[in-house]
């Protein structure tokens, strides 16, 4: 029965202390959380850590659940914010390895043979600013509409549209370089 219950109902029950509802909710969404974490960070280990952090924080976060948005939208926000937090901590304390940028360095070390497609992805992502990466992760990676992505990021649709056109521009530049 719980398996068919909509996210929003489960979230409400979980917020009220229903353990089973919470378990279903977490089980249902872990993979999405981790997938988005990977798209945001570009690093599987970091994605695992981020997903774990989100899981650990979720019980407390759920207390803030008001049912004002779809649960998945809300959850995406939690993940995006956690990723921002991580980025910020790294940026202010140390110039630490940032997944996509990290790869820029690793690239010089020569990469495994069968990873050409992955290489291209890394190159493309490394070229984007964090804002653009977030946007790409949601719009392309999670197949969101611009309106949905705007809701997650707390921006207007216009901003998302503008960012996507910016992404296109960068990719075009990358493609032009590849031709050379």
């Amino acid at each position: 029965m719980l398996m068919d219950t909509p996210d929003e109902t489960l979230a409400q029950s979980a917020a009220n202390g229903d353990r089973d509802a919470f378990a279903v909710l977490v089980g249902r969404h872990y993979d999405r959380v981790r997938g988005l974490a990977w798209r945001l960070t570009g690093n599987a280990a970091e994605a695992d850590d981020l997903a774990q952090d989100v899981c650990a924080a979720l019980p407390a976060k759920l207390r803030g659940w008001r049912g004002e948005a779809r649960f998945s939208t809300w959850l995406y926000r939690v993940v995006v914010n956690a990723a921002h937090d991580l980025r910020r901590r790294k940026a202010t304390r140390a110039r630490a390895a940032e997944g996509w940028g990290d790869w820029e360095i690793a690239r010089q070390e020569a990469m495994a043979e069968d990873r050409a497609a992955q290489d291209w992805l890394m190159a493309a992502m490394a070229r984007l600013s964090p804002e653009l990466r977030d946007t790409v992760a949601l719009v392309l990676g999670e197949d969101m509409t611009q309106a949905e992505a705007a809701a997650v990021l707390g921006l207007s649709e216009g901003t998302i549209a503008w960012r996507m056109s910016e992404v296109k521009k960068r990719l075009r530049a990358l493609a032009a370089e590849e031709v050379k």
Binding site: D49, A60, G64, N81, A94, A96, E131
Partner: protein
């Protein structure tokens, strides 16, 4: 152009690396565990008023969970065998780890299984590893920041003006959200206005767009192992402003917002001034007993800059670069900013020149360079500034520098004063290059100061980075009184540098000093070799500024020593060659010069009574450390700090010191809760 590239990216993004089932199970188990603990703890234990304080004494459940989370994230640090990349990730969060109650990284709780980071992506990160040992906890955030940090860059990818305006409009908190956030945490904690419903009660990984530059408190160092301590001076005061604002609003500031040296250096001190023939500043060293530890002594190093008579200073060219975006429309922002600049204009001499550039996702010159004798015109232009306006182009900073360069004459000092509430989307299109750009302009003779207004969105880290690279001061302005202090009382100092790139290096004598600890300056640490490298940037001293640095030292054989001698180390006790405690070296550059000059002074165990100035500085160092939850203070608490500050009030002509005492009383009350 087709959308092929987008499709290609879409496809590539789909192929997320396979989920590790162990990690999945682990994460879910952890979520359930926390859920259960949450239920046990009951709904009432989340005390939002304490939301922002993560000192551990009597911490509520949420704090416990946050602490646990912090440890979780720092897991790679503990697993010393993990890859360098994992260590780097750990670096970002080492601060909470160090702050654990015992001061020692403790074993992680059972629900946080220690496992080496999964090896699957095998990131080859050695080239960027600054130092694989976790012991010096990233103390050089300062230099790191100057490498165009993420925090700086993330704001700088200037979105198209129109999109940005809309973004701003959205950013304005809805009334409901605002009310709720006030109830939860009075101090603008809920700054991430776009998603208030998440912040109001969550209490864990705090959502907040405020970022603070800081590093873990300096640890006690063993002289025999590391006899030399090197750092850049710091004349910023932004941290004190943030502290005052938090306390006034009724909550303790987040510990990471407290930079102890900025608390100390906020106050004007009457240290002995240099003679006319001497270097532009004079150093005074005082050794005194430590108020919070009978077994140690404090070495108080004071630098006092010369104050040339106001009439002697060269003419100033000032460009006010003012953020007029929609978010500035708040009584604590644009109106206060206008008031502040008006105060400044009235202090200028007739031949000084002022220009005003405004930006709101777009930039425009509001006032062409105008001599200060025409104060009426300047004030009128200031008065006409309105938040929310926008014109074409987005080149605030570039335009401001262009205007400043046009104003520069022989022997004149040009300075851009950037006033903003935090979003540094000032329009340099290459985000990575912003700090470098500011540095280049500094070398060309135009300095940059940054004034922060309003809380909630304040990008302290970026302010610091910009001001440091621009040889300027970063100050946070929350009241008209603060505006007067920064812009009027210290006008010549803030705007007229007398020594650039001032670095301090102390070599301790192991025969007299077994252990030492520099109080504050975590973000200003320099590598030992940077001292003699004139290409490494450091802080500037303005006319009349004073700078204070305080070390806590422990004599060999003292009961207060914190480290045992090494079993396999050099057993030879160092030869007692002199009674010098150490040797102080200072390097500075005269403005405009590229070669540094060196000043050397031995540190002698003086017997002089410490004066009120030094004692007040020590009281402020205590204040800052109390706010950071320092482990070095023992039983010494608010009462003792207040008493010391009161006994060292001195003249206090502007009332800054008594204000600090009142803030300490407030902090005491809040801390007791």
């Amino acid at each position: 152009m087709s959308d092929d590239e987008l499709e290609k990216l879409r496809a590539a993004l789909k192929v997320a690396p396979a989920t590790d089932t162990d990690r999945r199970a682990e994460a879910i188990a952890l979520a359930m565990k926390n859920f259960d603990r949450m239920q046990e703890a009951g709904q009432g234990s989340a005390d939002p008023a304490r939301h922002n304080q993560d000192r551990l004494t009597g911490a509520g459940f949420l704090n416990g969970v946050r602490e646990m989370l912090n440890r979780l994230t720092s897991r790679p640090v503990l697993g010393l065998t993990t890859s360098a990349a994992a260590l780097l990730i750990g670096f970002g969060v080492i601060y909470p780890l160090v702050k654990s109650p015992t001061g020692v990284p403790v074993a992680i709780e059972a629900e946080a299984p220690v496992k080496p980071a999964p090896a699957e992506p095998a990131p080859v990160a050695e080239p960027v590893a600054p130092d694989p040992a976790p012991s010096p906890p990233a103390a050089d955030a300062d230099r790191v920041l100057s490498d165009a940090p993420e925090a700086a860059t993330s704001y700088l990818v200037a979105p198209a003006p129109k999109a940005m305006e809309r973004q701003r409009a959205l950013g304005a908190p809805a009334p409901l959200a605002a009310t709720r956030s006030e109830g939860a945490a009075p101090m603008g904690v809920v700054a991430d206005t776009a998603m208030p419903e998440m912040d109001a009660l969550s209490g864990m990984p705090e959502e907040n767009t405020e970022t603070f530059a800081n590093a873990a408190p300096n640890p006690v160092k063993v002289t025999a192992e590391e006899p030399v301590s090197t750092f850049s001076i710091d004349v910023d005061t932004a941290s004190y402003g943030v502290i005052r604002q938090s306390l006034t609003m009724g909550s303790l500031p987040p510990p990471e917002a407290v930079r102890v040296e900025e608390v100390v250096n906020y106050f004007p001190y009457g240290y002995p001034a240099p003679g006319a023939e001497d270097a532009p500043f004079r150093s005074t060293v005082t050794v005194m007993p430590t108020p919070w530890n009978a077994g140690t002594r404090l070495v108080h190093v004071a630098l006092q800059g010369r104050l040339p008579a106001i009439e002697d200073r060269p003419p100033l060219n000032l460009v006010f670069l003012i953020d007029t975006s929609g978010s500035m429309e708040d009584p604590a922002k644009l109106p206060l900013l206008k008031q502040s600049f008006a105060l400044l204009v009235n202090q200028l001499r007739p031949e000084d020149e002022v220009a005003i550039v405004a930006y709101a996702g777009s930039a425009g010159t509001v006032l062409e360079p105008t001599p200060a004798r025409d104060a009426g015109r300047i004030l009128a232009a200031l008065d006409n500034l309105a938040a929310g306006g926008s014109t074409a182009g987005a080149e605030g900073l570039e335009l401001a520098y262009r205007v400043a360069e046009g104003m520069a004459g022989d022997g004149e000092v040009s300075r851009v004063i950037l006033a903003t509430d935090g979003d540094f989307n000032v329009g340099v299109s290459d985000p990575e290059g912003l700090t470098a750009y500011v540095g280049k302009k500094r070398d060309a003779g135009t300095y940059l100061s940054v004034l922060g207004f309003g809380r909630g969105n304040l990008d302290d880290a970026t302010m610091q980075a910009l001001a440091q690279n621009g040889n300027g001061q970063a100050a946070y302005i929350d009241t008209a009184q603060e505006a007067r202090k920064v812009l009027v009382d210290q006008l010549t100092g803030a705007l007229f540098p007398i020594a650039d790139d001032v670095k301090i290096q102390v070599e301790w004598n192991p025969a007299e000093v077994a252990e030492y600890r520099l109080i504050g300056y975590e973000t200003r640490a320099l590598a030992r070799e940077d001292f003699n490298n004139d290409r490494v940037d450091a802080g500037e001293i303005g006319a009349g500024h004073s700078v204070t640095a305080i070390y806590e030292i422990t004599a060999p054989g003292s009961a207060a020593l914190r480290n045992d001698p090494l079993r396999y180390g050099t057993a030879e006790p160092p030869l007692a060659t002199s009674d010098e405690l150490g040797f102080l070296r200072l390097r500075y550059k005269a403005p405009g010069e590229s070669e540094s000059r060196l000043i050397e002074t031995p540190i002698l165990p003086g017997t002089d009574e410490a004066g009120t100035e030094a004692r007040f500085a020590v009281a402020m160092a205590g204040f800052g450390q109390l706010l950071r939850g320092s482990v070095y203070l023992g039983d010494w608490g608010w009462d003792q700090a207040i008493e010391l500050a009161l006994s060292a009030r001195g003249d206090d002509p502007f009332g800054y010191r008594i204000e600090a005492v009142n803030l300490m009383r407030m902090a005491k009350a809040l801390d007791a809760r």
